[in-house]
Symmetry: C2
Subunit: 233 residues, 2 copies
């Protein structure tokens, strides 16, 4: 098997920077983790919040701390640091080679899409964002790694796309259409979802948007790990 | 302008994991940093060393610590942690939006290739690896961001490719050929360099190999940031 992961990210129109933070880290016991955080408000203040939360979670994951504990710690840390006055949404998506599972952590009221055996499941049980009180519980799901397993994780900006024109984006419908066409293809799917959203917003995103797509696929012979990043300056 | 970065990485043949660690982190004041560490020996023990060094550097960079200070701290940390008995090579490659420069930090005796205005420069001044004594100095270079600027950074495994058959890889020559063909293309170049090395080793790399290629290119209209990762499981 191999894991393919792609992310696409854009800032709210006419803000200097996206308030979302997306970071990646290798797991010391094998595997990889992605942390996606959407800070309250937008622009610089949101970025400062999302950066602090993501950094805390990433640092802990890089030391081998389990995903749920890292999410709890990130929440407590933000609560302490900002006296419970700001919130952020947090998602952690990991490929854990120790337990041979994909681990999905949700502290984000925005739904999350799972694909198993060609079927779509929407995770939308109510959860709290992080930082607003003590005792925040993350929603955690562990699924054995198998070809065809995939996850689509996104910040609420994606669901707000088109809102201004009264034609809100149907994320689940969009993923259903993609899945009807082809097996999960993280790079194509992430870019397609982002492009669709930007089009609905007529080129001017009404909110920061971040999308992360992970798929477990049959492995070709290639033993190498690869990474590719593009960043407008 | 936009920055494009690609990495390709493979472990020594018949070892469970690569002893190299490559991590990426967003800079809190804008930009992105990549840390590449090659731990002494190979396999699990090398991985433990490279992971510790990379994690220390990444954590500091994520807090806004400057590249040179992060390299010094990572060295002192390894020295203290392992009593100066193990070494690692360290490279940090950053796009710093605050100073509008590309920052290149070298604590790796293996050369590093810079490209400016279509000309290749090889950085090979003598430097110490990290962890072996106090007072390790990194070699630091800051170059203003401009289209056409590029860097090719790699661990010594790339230069050892083909050694077994007495036909060692000519990395600089290979990059010269690539540059004669096209403007810097991180994804294609990183993959080409890795494939050439693996071919010279007849499919069985004699050492861990990691390659990182960064290029500053003219920007197209696309405002989005993207990321793509592939990991064999």
């Amino acid at each position: 098997m191999e894991a393919q992961i792609a992310a696409a990210k854009v800032g709210k129109y006419a803000t200097s920077e996206s308030g979302d933070t997306l970071e990646m880290v290798e797991r010391p016991c094998g595997g990889i983790s992605f942390v996606m955080v959407d800070g309250q408000r937008s622009g610089k203040s949101a970025k400062a919040i999302s950066n602090v939360v993501a950094r805390k979670a990433i640092n802990l994951l890089s030391e081998g701390v389990r995903d749920g504990a890292a999410a709890r710690a990130a929440s407590d840390y933000l609560y302490t640091y900002r006296s419970g006055k700001v919130l952020a949404t947090l998602n952690i998506l990991s490929v854990d080679l120790l337990s041979k599972t994909m681990v999905v952590v949700r502290n984000n009221p925005t739904p999350l899409i799972l694909i198993q055996d060609g079927r779509i499941e929407v995770l939308d049980d109510p959860v709290d964002p992080v930082g607003i009180r003590r005792q925040i519980q993350p929603s955690i799901k562990e699924i054995p790694l198998a070809p065809g397993l995939a996850a689509v994780v996104y910040t609420d900006g994606l669901t707000y796309a088109g809102d201004r024109r009264g034609k809100r984006m149907d994320v689940v419908g969009c993923v259903q259409d993609l899945l009807a066409e082809e097996a999960p293809n993280p790079e194509r799917w992430a870019n397609h979802l982002l492009k669709t959203a930007i089009k609905l917003d007529e080129g001017r995103p009404v909110d920061d948007i971040s999308i992360l797509v992970l798929a477990i696929l049959p492995r070709n012979n290639d033993e190498s790990r690869t990474l590719k990043v593009r960043m407008p300056l």
